[in-house]
Symmetry: C2
Subunit: 179 residues, 2 copies
Protein backbone atom coordinates (compact mmCIF):
# COMPACT_ATOMS: atom_id res chain seq x y z
CA UNK A 1 0.00 0.00 0.00
CA UNK A 2 1.01 3.56 -0.54
CA UNK A 3 2.64 5.50 2.22
CA UNK A 4 0.88 8.56 3.46
CA UNK A 5 2.00 11.75 1.80
CA UNK A 6 2.56 10.03 -1.51
CA UNK A 7 1.82 12.22 -4.48
CA UNK A 8 -0.88 10.88 -6.72
CA UNK A 9 -1.08 11.39 -10.46
CA UNK A 10 -3.78 13.76 -11.75
CA UNK A 11 -5.57 10.77 -13.30
CA UNK A 12 -5.59 8.87 -10.01
CA UNK A 13 -7.03 11.87 -8.20
CA UNK A 14 -9.61 12.47 -10.93
CA UNK A 15 -10.85 8.89 -10.86
CA UNK A 16 -11.00 8.79 -7.08
CA UNK A 17 -12.90 12.06 -7.19
CA UNK A 18 -15.53 10.30 -9.34
CA UNK A 19 -15.74 7.57 -6.70
CA UNK A 20 -16.14 10.27 -4.04
CA UNK A 21 -19.02 11.75 -6.06
CA UNK A 22 -20.71 8.33 -5.95
CA UNK A 23 -20.16 8.19 -2.18
CA UNK A 24 -21.79 11.62 -1.88
CA UNK A 25 -24.83 10.33 -3.77
CA UNK A 26 -24.99 7.50 -1.23
CA UNK A 27 -24.80 10.00 1.65
CA UNK A 28 -27.61 12.05 0.09
CA UNK A 29 -29.70 8.85 0.11
CA UNK A 30 -28.92 8.20 3.79
CA UNK A 31 -26.67 5.26 2.85
CA UNK A 32 -23.25 4.55 4.34
CA UNK A 33 -21.20 6.74 1.98
CA UNK A 34 -19.00 4.48 -0.12
CA UNK A 35 -18.69 4.86 -3.89
CA UNK A 36 -16.63 3.40 -6.68
CA UNK A 37 -15.91 3.49 -10.41
CA UNK A 38 -14.49 0.80 -12.68
CA UNK A 39 -12.20 1.64 -15.61
CA UNK A 40 -11.22 -0.19 -18.75
CA UNK A 41 -8.41 1.23 -20.87
CA UNK A 42 -8.46 4.43 -18.84
CA UNK A 43 -12.18 5.04 -19.36
CA UNK A 44 -14.92 4.81 -16.72
CA UNK A 45 -17.26 1.97 -17.72
CA UNK A 46 -19.25 1.52 -14.50
CA UNK A 47 -20.02 3.25 -11.23
CA UNK A 48 -21.59 2.03 -8.03
CA UNK A 49 -22.52 3.22 -4.60
CA UNK A 50 -23.51 1.50 -1.42
CA UNK A 51 -27.25 0.67 -1.58
CA UNK A 52 -27.69 -1.60 1.44
CA UNK A 53 -30.58 0.42 2.87
CA UNK A 54 -32.44 1.01 -0.40
CA UNK A 55 -32.22 -2.66 -1.37
CA UNK A 56 -32.56 -3.95 2.22
CA UNK A 57 -29.66 -6.23 1.28
CA UNK A 58 -26.60 -5.85 3.51
CA UNK A 59 -24.31 -7.24 0.80
CA UNK A 60 -25.05 -4.55 -1.81
CA UNK A 61 -21.77 -2.72 -1.31
CA UNK A 62 -20.57 -0.23 -3.93
CA UNK A 63 -18.20 -2.73 -5.56
CA UNK A 64 -20.89 -5.41 -5.91
CA UNK A 65 -23.22 -2.84 -7.49
CA UNK A 66 -20.61 -1.73 -10.04
CA UNK A 67 -19.57 -5.31 -10.81
CA UNK A 68 -23.18 -6.28 -11.53
CA UNK A 69 -23.63 -3.28 -13.84
CA UNK A 70 -20.68 -4.50 -15.89
CA UNK A 71 -21.64 -8.16 -15.91
CA UNK A 72 -25.21 -7.37 -16.98
CA UNK A 73 -23.88 -5.24 -19.82
CA UNK A 74 -21.32 -7.79 -20.97
CA UNK A 75 -23.83 -10.65 -20.79
CA UNK A 76 -26.32 -8.63 -22.86
CA UNK A 77 -23.55 -8.01 -25.40
CA UNK A 78 -23.15 -11.79 -25.70
CA UNK A 79 -19.64 -12.01 -24.29
CA UNK A 80 -18.54 -15.51 -23.33
CA UNK A 81 -17.28 -16.49 -19.88
CA UNK A 82 -13.67 -16.34 -21.05
CA UNK A 83 -14.18 -12.99 -22.81
CA UNK A 84 -15.66 -11.57 -19.61
CA UNK A 85 -12.70 -12.90 -17.59
CA UNK A 86 -10.33 -11.34 -20.14
CA UNK A 87 -12.08 -7.97 -19.88
CA UNK A 88 -12.06 -8.03 -16.06
CA UNK A 89 -8.35 -8.76 -16.08
CA UNK A 90 -7.83 -5.34 -17.70
CA UNK A 91 -10.12 -3.42 -15.37
CA UNK A 92 -9.18 -1.09 -12.56
CA UNK A 93 -11.46 -0.17 -9.65
CA UNK A 94 -11.37 3.01 -7.57
CA UNK A 95 -13.29 2.85 -4.30
CA UNK A 96 -13.45 5.35 -1.45
CA UNK A 97 -12.98 2.74 1.30
CA UNK A 98 -10.89 -0.43 1.37
CA UNK A 99 -12.96 -3.35 0.00
CA UNK A 100 -14.35 -5.56 2.75
CA UNK A 101 -13.44 -9.25 2.87
CA UNK A 102 -16.50 -10.21 0.80
CA UNK A 103 -15.84 -7.62 -1.91
CA UNK A 104 -12.08 -8.26 -1.99
CA UNK A 105 -12.78 -11.99 -2.40
CA UNK A 106 -15.26 -11.26 -5.21
CA UNK A 107 -12.74 -9.03 -7.00
CA UNK A 108 -10.13 -11.75 -6.57
CA UNK A 109 -12.46 -14.43 -7.96
CA UNK A 110 -13.33 -12.21 -10.93
CA UNK A 111 -9.64 -11.49 -11.52
CA UNK A 112 -9.57 -7.69 -11.55
CA UNK A 113 -6.24 -6.09 -12.50
CA UNK A 114 -5.92 -3.29 -10.01
CA UNK A 115 -7.67 -1.52 -7.12
CA UNK A 116 -7.15 1.94 -5.64
CA UNK A 117 -8.88 2.76 -2.41
CA UNK A 118 -9.28 5.74 -0.09
CA UNK A 119 -9.43 5.08 3.63
CA UNK A 120 -8.72 1.77 5.31
CA UNK A 121 -11.53 -0.48 6.53
CA UNK A 122 -10.09 -1.41 9.88
CA UNK A 123 -13.05 -3.58 10.90
CA UNK A 124 -13.45 -5.83 7.89
CA UNK A 125 -10.94 -4.81 5.22
CA UNK A 126 -9.81 -7.48 2.78
CA UNK A 127 -6.91 -5.64 1.15
CA UNK A 128 -4.46 -5.25 3.99
CA UNK A 129 -6.35 -4.33 7.16
CA UNK A 130 -7.75 -7.69 8.29
CA UNK A 131 -6.83 -9.91 5.34
CA UNK A 132 -4.69 -9.45 2.24
CA UNK A 133 -6.84 -11.08 -0.43
CA UNK A 134 -5.20 -8.89 -3.09
CA UNK A 135 -1.93 -10.79 -2.64
CA UNK A 136 -1.52 -13.69 -4.99
CA UNK A 137 -1.08 -17.07 -3.44
CA UNK A 138 0.82 -19.57 -5.53
CA UNK A 139 -1.26 -22.36 -4.00
CA UNK A 140 -4.38 -20.69 -5.38
CA UNK A 141 -3.05 -19.66 -8.77
CA UNK A 142 -3.52 -23.01 -10.47
CA UNK A 143 -5.45 -21.98 -13.56
CA UNK A 144 -7.17 -25.36 -13.66
CA UNK A 145 -8.71 -24.76 -10.27
CA UNK A 146 -12.39 -23.92 -10.62
CA UNK A 147 -12.43 -22.39 -7.17
CA UNK A 148 -9.34 -20.36 -7.91
CA UNK A 149 -8.69 -16.71 -7.42
CA UNK A 150 -6.05 -14.25 -8.50
CA UNK A 151 -4.15 -11.52 -6.75
CA UNK A 152 -4.43 -7.91 -7.87
CA UNK A 153 -2.35 -4.79 -7.50
CA UNK A 154 -3.73 -2.65 -4.69
CA UNK A 155 -2.96 0.89 -3.57
CA UNK A 156 -4.56 2.53 -0.54
CA UNK A 157 -4.70 6.02 0.90
CA UNK A 158 -5.88 7.96 -2.17
CA UNK A 159 -7.92 10.96 -0.95
CA UNK A 160 -8.43 9.09 2.31
CA UNK A 161 -9.29 12.20 4.29
CA UNK A 162 -12.16 13.02 1.91
CA UNK A 163 -13.53 9.49 2.32
CA UNK A 164 -13.28 9.68 6.11
CA UNK A 165 -14.97 13.07 6.06
CA UNK A 166 -17.98 11.53 4.33
CA UNK A 167 -18.22 8.78 6.97
CA UNK A 168 -18.07 11.47 9.64
CA UNK A 169 -20.93 13.33 7.95
CA UNK A 170 -22.96 10.12 7.92
CA UNK A 171 -22.49 9.52 11.63
CA UNK A 172 -23.07 13.18 12.47
CA UNK A 173 -26.50 13.02 10.87
CA UNK A 174 -27.32 10.41 13.49
CA UNK A 175 -27.05 7.18 11.48
CA UNK A 176 -30.74 7.48 10.57
CA UNK A 177 -31.05 3.87 9.50
CA UNK A 178 -30.22 2.68 12.97
CA UNK A 179 -27.85 0.04 11.67
CA UNK B 1 -16.44 -28.45 13.05
CA UNK B 2 -17.66 -31.98 13.32
CA UNK B 3 -15.27 -34.84 13.57
CA UNK B 4 -15.41 -37.49 10.88
CA UNK B 5 -17.60 -40.40 11.72
CA UNK B 6 -20.03 -38.25 13.65
CA UNK B 7 -23.61 -39.44 13.44
CA UNK B 8 -25.98 -36.96 11.95
CA UNK B 9 -29.65 -36.56 12.76
CA UNK B 10 -32.18 -37.70 10.14
CA UNK B 11 -33.18 -34.06 9.60
CA UNK B 12 -29.59 -33.00 9.00
CA UNK B 13 -29.12 -35.78 6.46
CA UNK B 14 -32.44 -35.00 4.77
CA UNK B 15 -31.65 -31.31 4.38
CA UNK B 16 -28.13 -32.00 3.11
CA UNK B 17 -29.62 -34.46 0.66
CA UNK B 18 -31.74 -31.62 -0.73
CA UNK B 19 -28.56 -29.57 -1.14
CA UNK B 20 -26.96 -32.55 -2.91
CA UNK B 21 -29.95 -32.65 -5.29
CA UNK B 22 -29.26 -29.01 -6.13
CA UNK B 23 -25.61 -29.85 -6.75
CA UNK B 24 -26.69 -32.64 -9.10
CA UNK B 25 -28.79 -30.16 -11.07
CA UNK B 26 -25.67 -28.02 -11.38
CA UNK B 27 -23.68 -31.02 -12.60
CA UNK B 28 -26.36 -31.78 -15.19
CA UNK B 29 -25.94 -28.20 -16.44
CA UNK B 30 -22.15 -28.62 -16.70
CA UNK B 31 -21.64 -26.34 -13.70
CA UNK B 32 -19.24 -26.96 -10.82
CA UNK B 33 -21.56 -29.10 -8.67
CA UNK B 34 -22.35 -27.17 -5.50
CA UNK B 35 -25.87 -26.79 -4.14
CA UNK B 36 -27.56 -25.43 -1.06
CA UNK B 37 -30.86 -24.91 0.72
CA UNK B 38 -31.87 -22.33 3.32
CA UNK B 39 -34.27 -23.15 6.16
CA UNK B 40 -36.43 -21.04 8.43
CA UNK B 41 -38.14 -22.72 11.38
CA UNK B 42 -37.19 -26.13 10.01
CA UNK B 43 -38.73 -25.51 6.58
CA UNK B 44 -36.88 -25.07 3.30
CA UNK B 45 -37.54 -21.54 2.05
CA UNK B 46 -34.89 -21.24 -0.69
CA UNK B 47 -32.53 -23.33 -2.77
CA UNK B 48 -29.59 -22.43 -4.95
CA UNK B 49 -26.97 -24.03 -7.11
CA UNK B 50 -23.76 -22.81 -8.63
CA UNK B 51 -24.56 -20.91 -11.87
CA UNK B 52 -21.22 -19.33 -12.73
CA UNK B 53 -21.17 -20.68 -16.27
CA UNK B 54 -24.81 -19.99 -17.12
CA UNK B 55 -24.61 -16.43 -15.83
CA UNK B 56 -20.99 -15.92 -16.95
CA UNK B 57 -20.50 -14.42 -13.50
CA UNK B 58 -17.81 -16.13 -11.43
CA UNK B 59 -19.38 -14.90 -8.18
CA UNK B 60 -22.74 -16.64 -8.65
CA UNK B 61 -22.02 -19.40 -6.14
CA UNK B 62 -24.89 -21.51 -4.77
CA UNK B 63 -25.11 -19.51 -1.54
CA UNK B 64 -25.32 -16.14 -3.35
CA UNK B 65 -28.07 -17.55 -5.57
CA UNK B 66 -30.14 -18.76 -2.61
CA UNK B 67 -29.57 -15.55 -0.64
CA UNK B 68 -30.82 -13.46 -3.56
CA UNK B 69 -33.93 -15.63 -3.92
CA UNK B 70 -34.78 -14.90 -0.31
CA UNK B 71 -33.97 -11.21 -0.39
CA UNK B 72 -36.03 -10.68 -3.55
CA UNK B 73 -38.96 -12.43 -1.91
CA UNK B 74 -38.70 -10.55 1.38
CA UNK B 75 -38.30 -7.20 -0.40
CA UNK B 76 -41.39 -7.91 -2.52
CA UNK B 77 -43.26 -8.73 0.68
CA UNK B 78 -42.36 -5.27 1.96
CA UNK B 79 -40.14 -6.38 4.83
CA UNK B 80 -37.99 -3.65 6.33
CA UNK B 81 -34.21 -3.84 6.66
CA UNK B 82 -34.48 -4.77 10.34
CA UNK B 83 -37.21 -7.35 9.67
CA UNK B 84 -34.99 -8.96 7.02
CA UNK B 85 -32.05 -8.99 9.44
CA UNK B 86 -34.29 -10.58 12.07
CA UNK B 87 -35.43 -13.29 9.65
CA UNK B 88 -31.86 -14.07 8.52
CA UNK B 89 -30.80 -14.45 12.13
CA UNK B 90 -33.15 -17.44 12.35
CA UNK B 91 -32.10 -19.07 9.10
CA UNK B 92 -29.94 -22.12 8.63
CA UNK B 93 -28.05 -22.95 5.41
CA UNK B 94 -27.02 -26.39 4.18
CA UNK B 95 -24.38 -26.39 1.42
CA UNK B 96 -22.51 -29.29 -0.12
CA UNK B 97 -19.09 -27.59 0.03
CA UNK B 98 -17.63 -25.24 2.65
CA UNK B 99 -18.54 -21.63 1.77
CA UNK B 100 -15.69 -19.76 0.11
CA UNK B 101 -14.29 -16.61 1.72
CA UNK B 102 -16.67 -14.38 -0.28
CA UNK B 103 -19.77 -16.41 0.61
CA UNK B 104 -18.76 -16.86 4.25
CA UNK B 105 -18.23 -13.10 4.52
CA UNK B 106 -21.63 -12.47 2.92
CA UNK B 107 -23.35 -14.89 5.33
CA UNK B 108 -21.54 -13.20 8.20
CA UNK B 109 -22.62 -9.73 7.04
CA UNK B 110 -26.22 -10.90 6.67
CA UNK B 111 -26.08 -12.52 10.11
CA UNK B 112 -27.19 -16.06 9.37
CA UNK B 113 -27.74 -18.30 12.40
CA UNK B 114 -26.15 -21.58 11.35
CA UNK B 115 -24.40 -23.34 8.46
CA UNK B 116 -23.90 -27.04 7.75
CA UNK B 117 -21.55 -27.99 4.94
CA UNK B 118 -20.36 -31.14 3.24
CA UNK B 119 -16.75 -31.31 2.10
CA UNK B 120 -14.08 -28.79 2.97
CA UNK B 121 -12.97 -26.12 0.47
CA UNK B 122 -9.24 -26.40 0.98
CA UNK B 123 -8.37 -23.75 -1.59
CA UNK B 124 -10.62 -20.88 -0.56
CA UNK B 125 -12.79 -21.97 2.35
CA UNK B 126 -14.02 -19.29 4.72
CA UNK B 127 -15.37 -21.50 7.52
CA UNK B 128 -12.27 -23.17 8.85
CA UNK B 129 -10.03 -24.17 5.92
CA UNK B 130 -8.36 -20.87 5.00
CA UNK B 131 -10.24 -18.45 7.23
CA UNK B 132 -12.74 -18.80 10.06
CA UNK B 133 -15.24 -16.10 9.24
CA UNK B 134 -17.95 -18.00 11.11
CA UNK B 135 -16.21 -17.27 14.40
CA UNK B 136 -17.46 -14.19 16.12
CA UNK B 137 -14.93 -11.50 16.78
CA UNK B 138 -15.69 -9.26 19.71
CA UNK B 139 -13.97 -6.40 17.89
CA UNK B 140 -16.49 -6.77 15.09
CA UNK B 141 -19.60 -7.39 17.14
CA UNK B 142 -20.34 -3.78 17.93
CA UNK B 143 -23.96 -3.55 16.85
CA UNK B 144 -23.53 0.12 16.05
CA UNK B 145 -20.88 -0.66 13.46
CA UNK B 146 -22.30 -0.29 9.96
CA UNK B 147 -19.54 -2.45 8.54
CA UNK B 148 -20.07 -5.08 11.22
CA UNK B 149 -20.52 -8.78 10.84
CA UNK B 150 -21.62 -11.61 13.09
CA UNK B 151 -20.34 -15.09 13.76
CA UNK B 152 -22.48 -18.13 13.07
CA UNK B 153 -22.54 -21.74 14.20
CA UNK B 154 -20.88 -23.94 11.60
CA UNK B 155 -20.68 -27.71 11.22
CA UNK B 156 -18.73 -29.42 8.45
CA UNK B 157 -18.45 -32.94 7.11
CA UNK B 158 -22.13 -33.75 6.54
CA UNK B 159 -22.34 -36.22 3.63
CA UNK B 160 -18.90 -35.04 2.56
CA UNK B 161 -18.17 -38.13 0.48
CA UNK B 162 -21.29 -37.54 -1.63
CA UNK B 163 -20.22 -33.96 -2.26
CA UNK B 164 -16.70 -35.02 -3.23
CA UNK B 165 -18.12 -37.67 -5.52
CA UNK B 166 -20.00 -34.98 -7.45
CA UNK B 167 -16.83 -32.94 -7.87
CA UNK B 168 -15.08 -36.06 -9.13
CA UNK B 169 -17.86 -36.61 -11.68
CA UNK B 170 -17.45 -33.03 -12.85
CA UNK B 171 -13.73 -33.40 -13.42
CA UNK B 172 -14.14 -36.83 -14.99
CA UNK B 173 -16.41 -35.35 -17.64
CA UNK B 174 -13.43 -33.26 -18.68
CA UNK B 175 -14.28 -29.87 -17.13
CA UNK B 176 -16.14 -28.91 -20.32
CA UNK B 177 -16.15 -25.23 -19.56
CA UNK B 178 -12.39 -25.07 -19.60
CA UNK B 179 -12.27 -23.12 -16.39
Amino acid sequence: MASSGEEWSPDTLAFMDLAIQQAKLALDSLEVPVGCVILEDGKVIAAGRNRTTETRNATRHAEMEAIDVLLDQWQKNGLSQSEIAEKFSKCCLYVTCEPCIMCAAALSILGIKEVYYGCANEKFGGCGSILSLHLSDSKMLNSGDVLGRKGFKCTGGVMASEAVSLFRSFYEQGNPNGI
